[in-house]
Each structure stands twice: as structure tokens, then as C-alpha cells.
């Protein structure tokens, strides 16, 4: 794919530039206990209550790996269509910071647990693109430094220290701000389907570092052809961007900043930058020349991680249906449109909700009600699907009442409102409030006859202008409080006015 195809080109003063991005996503592994200790991982506990002596790096304490965290990494690797490495190991990444009591982070440097893979992502316009995965490795999270509790001191909470993270590194296959957020959204969906990461960006369960570089148009195609990074520009890494919107903003700012520097005859320094969400700009984080000298070496406290074939096979056999497979099934077996299916599978909670509504009911109707009526209403109220006042069983019943022609589509909208506001069993509401559709042709005929008798001129006009029959449809519906079966009304009017 060329820059022209993606449409994201920065028109500088001296020429056109394309943008190339790779992302490093840190995903917190969903587990009860930490990667190398038995302390809890739950969010929001009192400071330093979920810290063992291992996490606090007390002398003589030894790490013992959590088997489930290993399984979660393998599960994720399989979900990313990636190579699982039966032999991997842990290294120490050395640096000093108050929230890192060990003085090093246990990570995987040269031999990660998961190798190359790829995922298919979806742009805003519905078109799809593939992003290569470079690797996934397991590592420890650091603690949390709080700088605003005291003007002269930093407060440190080690609850997060030692929690397992998966660092997922993409290849530089991302070309626009929209693609970057689409990639993170897809990654998040896969992780949530797999149950390997909660994916809540506000809680820091998913954090993205974005590598951005710019090159003259055509450079990327040469890079893809040859694999030679010299065709790409020097990259800057924007650390810890914590929302999809900020990812897009940070990239736009950073790419334009780089173009400006290059066109003014300057040079991009490979550096780490921070995105300031308040001002929308990125700024240089630290220029300490030693900052990146991590002096990795194999952790002598941990033996190599050898995965048995059976262990990997068992995880593979228990993988849940992932978003792409689900979308395919929705299209092929349920007859949904690709668009409807994509919207439904984009988030696990949505897909689960839809499948609970479905329960053997009319799939297209169910998809329409979930995607349009329900999501429309939820968006309007700023609610997420898990906060919906209407549960899937209730919505399922509404769908069923429509497909069994007990109520009309129009009445169904009123019923939806009642259930949204008041709750209750849709079937009972329809019964109690007399909302049932009238399919009794005799009753409809009586209304039609009366209308024709009262409006002879209108009735005569219909023969010349069949479209004016719409007026009668409206009047019948009005007279019957919208409960008449629209098809029956049409049939009877056609018979009486046109035959």
C-alpha cells in the first residue's frame, strides 16, 4: 500500500512526506497474582498493601514465575497468529528509578516467548489492512510515582510493581493516525475476547508507545521491498499514550513537527518524547545520555522458560472464537451485512450482548435493533453496553414480538422506550397496555370504509395518483393508534381504492 492509497501525506513547504509508525503496546496480563510473586493485582487497593517482599526487592527474595501468566502470553500469541517460542528466557533491564525497587526490570530481551505474527485491522471507512507483529514478551510492571501529594517529595506505591505485562511490538506497518488507533482497538478487542487483558485504558491496563518517523513519499514502498530501514526516517518514541484519541493527536503533532525540522535543514534526534494531552504537543522526555544503556543480561535467578508441546496444544484447543471468526460466522451463517457484523464484533461486550439477544431469533432484525436503536440510544446517553438499562433478554423479547407480528415496528419503538424508562417484561407490557398489532382484517376494513365514506374526493384521487394512498395509510394508523398491521392496511386500501 502506498501513501497515496492511505491518503495521509504531509504537504510540507518543500515537498510531500509520508508517515510510518510502529507501536509498542503494554498490556497488563489478566491474572490473580503477580508475575513472580503471590501478591494480588487488583486495581485500586490501598498503597503498598499488594506488595510482597519479592516485589519490594528485599535481599534474598527469589522470583517464582506464575504459570497462568505464561499461559496468558501463549494464548495471546496464538490470538495474534504468532509463532510461539518453546524456548525463551528472562533478562534484567537495568535502570534506577524510585518506583523500581530491584534496580532492574525482569523482561525478555533476546529470546521472547512469542515471535512474529499478524493481525487484520479495520479503518474507519471499513477497509482492512494487515499489521505485522514483531514479538510479544513478558515483563514486570513498575510501581507508581505520585508527584502531586507533596511539593518537595515523590510518593511511591508499589502495588503495581511486579504485575505481569505483555509488551506487544508491531512492525512499522502503520501509516495514518486512524490506522494507529484502529490497530490498538483491534488488539484490545482480541485481548478481551481471549480474556488475557482487561483492556481498560483509563486504568492503565493497556498503554501504547508510538514510534513515529517521516520520509519523502515513496520511501515506505522501498522499505517494504527491501526491508532496509535506511529508506525510513529517524524515529521518535512517544511514551505512554493512554487513549485512542490521544494516539491520533500525538501522531499528527509529532509527524508535522518532524517535517518542519527536516525542511528547515535540521536533523531528527532519536529520542523519547511525552505527549501532553492538555496542550496536544509532544516534548522531549529526557536527554540523559545514559538513559538507554540498560545493560541487559540473563537473569541468574530464573531458569530458561521451556514450553512443552502439550501445554501449547491445550491452550490452542481452548481458544475462544475471535472477532474475525465471529464476524465471518455472522455474515455467512446469520446473513448479516459485513458492516453490521463488524460493528457487533468490534467489542466483546457488544458481541456477547448481541448473541444473548439472538437466541435463535431473526438475526437481521436483532442486529438492526442492537446496532441502531440500542447503540444509538446508549451513545446519546453516554452509556456503555454494560450499563444498558435494557438487558438482552428484554430486547430479545421485543425482537421476537416484532418478528411474530404481535406488534408493529412503530409500536416496537414505543415499547423500547417504555422498557428503557420503566423496565419490565415486554410481553406483559404489550398485553397490559393493549399494544398488540391489529391483524384482524374486519376491524381494519371498518376503519377504511368509514374513511372512504368521509373523504370521497380523496378516495377518487387515488385512482389517478396512487401515491396519495399514503394519506389513507396515515389516517388508518392514526385512527388505530399505530397498531394496525401495515401490510394488512396496504392490502385492504389497494383492494378498496384501486380495484
Amino acid at each position: 500500500m502506498t501513501a497515496t492509497d492511505t491518503g495521509y501525506i504531509i504537504h510540507g513547504m518543500k515537498g510531500d512526506w509520508e508517515v510510518v509508525m510502529g507501536l509498542e503496546v503494554h498490556a497488563q496480563v489478566q491474572s490473580q497474582a503477580k508475575l513472580f510473586s503471590g501478591a494480588a493485582t487488583a486495581f485500586g487497593a490501598d498503597p503498598n498493601t499488594q506488595v510482597s517482599l519479592v516485589d519490594a526487592a528485599m535481599p534474598g527474595m527469589l522470583p517464582v514465575i506464575n504459570k497462568e501468566c505464561v499461559a496468558q502470553a501463549v494464548r495471546t500469541g496464538l490470538g495474534l497468529n504468532a509463532q510461539i517460542n518453546p524456548h525463551s528466557r528472562f533478562d534484567r533491564k537495568n535502570y534506577f528509578y524510585p518506583d523500581l525497587p530491584q534496580g532492574y526490570q525482569i523482561s525478555q530481551f533476546s529470546d521472547p516467548i512469542v515471535g512474529e505474527g499478524e493481525i487484520e485491522c479495520e479503518r474507519e471507512d471499513g477497509s482492512r489492512f494487515v499489521v505485522g507483529i514483531e514479538r510479544l514478551h513478558l515483563e514486570q510492571d513498575a510501581g507508581k510515582s505520585i508527584h502531586d501529594l507533596d511539593p518537595n517529595a515523590t510518593y511511591v506505591d508499589l502495588n503495581r510493581s511486579g504485575v505481569a505485562l505483555m509488551e506487544i511490538v508491531s512492525k512499522p506497518h502503520i501509516r495514518t493516525p486512524d490506522e494507529a488507533s484502529a490497530y490498538v482497538a483491534k488488539l484490545r478487542a482480541i485481548l478481551r475476547y481471549l480474556g488475557t487483558c482487561g483492556g481498560d485504558m483509563e486504568k492503565g491496563q493497556l498503554r501504547a508507545d508510538v514510534n513515529v518517523s517521516v520520509c519523502p513519499v515513496g520511501g515506505y514502498a522501498k522499505f517494504r521491498e527491501t526491508g532496509d530501514f535506511k529508506h525510513l526516517g529517524t524515529r521518535c518514541e512517544i511514551k505512554n499514550v493512554n487513549s485512542l484519541r490521544f494516539i491520533r493527536q500525538a501522531i499528527e503533532y509529532e509527524a508535522n513537527r518532524q517535517v518542519e525540522i527536516i525542511e528547515e535543514g535540521g536533523k531528527i534526534d532519536q529520542e523519547t518524547r511525552l505527549f501532553d494531552a492538555g496542550t496536544g504537543v509532544t516534548r522531549s522526555m529526557r536527554s540523559k545520555e545514559d538513559a538507554h544503556d540498560y545493560r541487559y543480561f540473563p537473569d541468574p535467578d530464573l531458569l530458561p522458560l521451556i514450553l512443552e508441546e502439550d501445554f501449547i496444544a491445550a491452550i490452542k484447543a481452548s481458544l475462544p472464537e475471535l472477532p474475525d471468526e465471529k464476524r465471518k460466522r455472522f455474515v455467512e451463517e446469520l446473513g448479516l451485512t459485513d458492516y453490521d457484523a463488524s460493528v457487533l464484533v468490534s467489542d466483546k461486550d457488544r458481541a456477547d450482548y448481541f448473541e444473548a439477544v439472538l437466541e435463535g431469533r431473526d438475526a437481521k432484525l436483532a442486529a438492526n435493533w442492537v446496532n441502531n436503536e440500542l447503540f444509538g440510544r446508549l451513545n446519546k446517553e453516554g452509556l456503555s453496553i454494560t450499563q444498558s438499562p435494557i438487558n438482552p433478554q428484554q430486547l430479545g423479547k421485543i425482537v421476537e414480538l416484532i418478528s411474530k407480528e404481535v406488534i408493529s415496528g412503530k409500536i416496537a419503538k414505543d415499547l423500547f422506550e417504555i422498557v428503557w424508562e420503566e423496565g419490565g417484561d415486554p410481553e406483559a407490557i404489550v398485553e397490559d397496555r393493549g399494544m398488540k398489532q391489529v391483524t384482524d382484517t374486519g376491524a381494519i376494513e371498518a376503519v377504511v370504509d368509514q374513511l372512504i365514506a368521509d373523504n370521497p374526493d380523496q378516495a377518487a384521487k387515488v385512482k389517478d395518483k396512487p401515491k396519495t394512498m399514503g394519506w389513507f395509510v396515515g389516517q388508518v394508523m392514526k385512527a388505530m393508534q399505530g397498531k394496525a398491521n401495515p401490510q394488512a392496511v396496504n392490502d385492504i386500501l389497494t383492494k378498496k381504492l384501486l380495484d
Binding site: Q32, A33, L53, Y155, V156, D290, P300
Partner: protein, 95 residues
């Protein structure tokens, strides 16, 4: 392989060891002696041999995913030079 005094100073700094200015020269010679001695291993032909990071052949011990530890804040904070409201308190470290 050998190191210069500048490199030794830098390594000391990275390891947060007070820069031993007076001993720097001697330390450099000492380290180079060690490096020279280890260099003898270079004579062994390791073509096609996987790097060995441990001589231990038992599998990596693993534990189940269960909460068995933590809730020892007093112990964790006991040796901290300064603590407040359950936090460690350290000199301001904002970048």
C-alpha cells in the same frame, strides 16, 4: 577487549557507585586484567553451539495463579527512610 577510564566512570555512574576518581586509573587496570583473563575463553571453538545461560537442567519452577502473599505493608515500609500514609516518600523525582 578492554575498557578506558571514561568507560569505567560511566559504568560506575550507571550502577550508582560513587565515582572513585582517585582510584579510577587503578580500577581500570584491574578490570582490564579480569577482561584479559576471561578473554582466553575466546580460544574455544563454539561454532554452532547454543549459548548456555545456566548449567542447571531442571525445568523452571512455576507456581499457581493464587494470592498467597502481600498485605505486609508494615514490613515493606519498615526500613524506608521516610514513609507517609502508606507510601514510600522519596526526593522529588519529576522529569
Amino acid at each position: 577487549m578492554s575498557v578506558t577510564t571514561d568507560e569505567v566512570r560511566r559504568i560506575a555512574k550507571l550502577a550508582r557507585i560513587a565515582e572513585p576518581t582517585a582510584r579510577l586509573e587503578a580500577l581500570t587496570q584491574e578490570l582490564n586484567g579480569i577482561l584479559d583473563w576471561v578473554e582466553q575463553l575466546g580460544e574455544v571453538d563454539v561454532e554452532g553451539v547454543e549459548p548456555m545461560t545456566t548449567p542447571v537442567v531442571t525445568p523452571l519452577p512455576m507456581r499457581e495463579d493464587a494470592i498467597t502473599d502481600g498485605n505486609v505493608r508494615d514490613k515493606v515500609l519498615k526500613n524506608a527512610p521516610n514513609a507517609d500514609a502508606g507510601f514510600f516518600v522519596v526526593p522529588k523525582s519529576v522529569e
